[in-house]
Subunit: 115 residues, 3 copies
């Protein structure tokens, strides 16, 4: 069984391929400060790139967890989500709240996809 790890930082890998699946870390924006919509767009673009590097794409996402510091941000992130997501292949999803690593961070998204 081979496990392939992508974009390792000091403490995690941004994506891990194993057993026919791709597991991504919770992804956040780099360009800060920025609005919920701007951060969501940046995060989803990073997810596209990570999935592509692992031989997958957004149509193959099976589940997604989204963390926001305030649940009221959900409407704004959903606007960007709906423009991005493959509407013929919607993942299972949970959107919940958490304090994020940096007070400027307004959204963190983690996905699991089939290869």
């Amino acid at each position: 069984m081979s496990i392939i790890r992508h974009q390792p930082s000091k403490i995690w890998s941004a994506a891990v391929e194993a057993n026919g699946m791709v597991y991504l870390s919770g992804i956040t924006a780099d360009r800060l400060p920025a609005s919920v919509k701007e951060q969501t767009a940046e995060v989803l673009a990073k997810i596209d790139a990570l999935l592509a590097a692992a031989g997958s794409n957004k149509s193959k996402i099976v589940s997604c967890t989204i963390w926001v510091p305030d649940i009221r941000y959900r409407d704004e992130l959903n606007q960007v989500w709906l423009e991005w997501v493959d509407t013929a292949n919607l993942p299972a999803r949970a959107c919940v709240t958490s304090q994020l690593a940096n007070p400027n961070l307004l959204v963190e998204i983690q996905v699991t996809a089939v290869k």
Copy 2:
């Protein structure tokens, strides 16, 4: 590799079958307002129905994440959980806190099962 998606809404699928597994969204109650126990019972009944539609059942759940807005709700939800769960086949579980989508929501449950 075929991916089968169940009960798509505008933004997610309630359940996704892939790679021998079934991934469910975070499920919440529709009948609101209701007590923690009532909501937990409704959510677990929805999970039973989604697992059945995907050819699985509660004895095959491998992991479960539960979100409650206040950790003190855990005792009440556990009473309903213990009546429902297959005690010979207990999943891995984490019960943590989150603000939920609607202030009336008192529990959200996400499970992953083998098909």
Copy 3:
């Protein structure tokens, strides 16, 4: 398809083997009160033991979710994490916040590994 469950309590299994993967519950420390570092060390030792019992080990972890009651605890937990983790095989990770089951609990960690 066989599913193997390890260390069942009344409400969960500490680890579940299925489909070539090992799914662990959110693990917390028993020795309380204790510092973030002490609790992280105890939790990671428990995770080592559970992975070993399921025929896996920390080099095969694909994803990890960490919950802390205050995001500022991340620096302390990361110090212990960095001494423990297999730096050649870093998992995907998300570190988010949650009220935990007991006010003395300062960290909860859940991992998924390949067998």
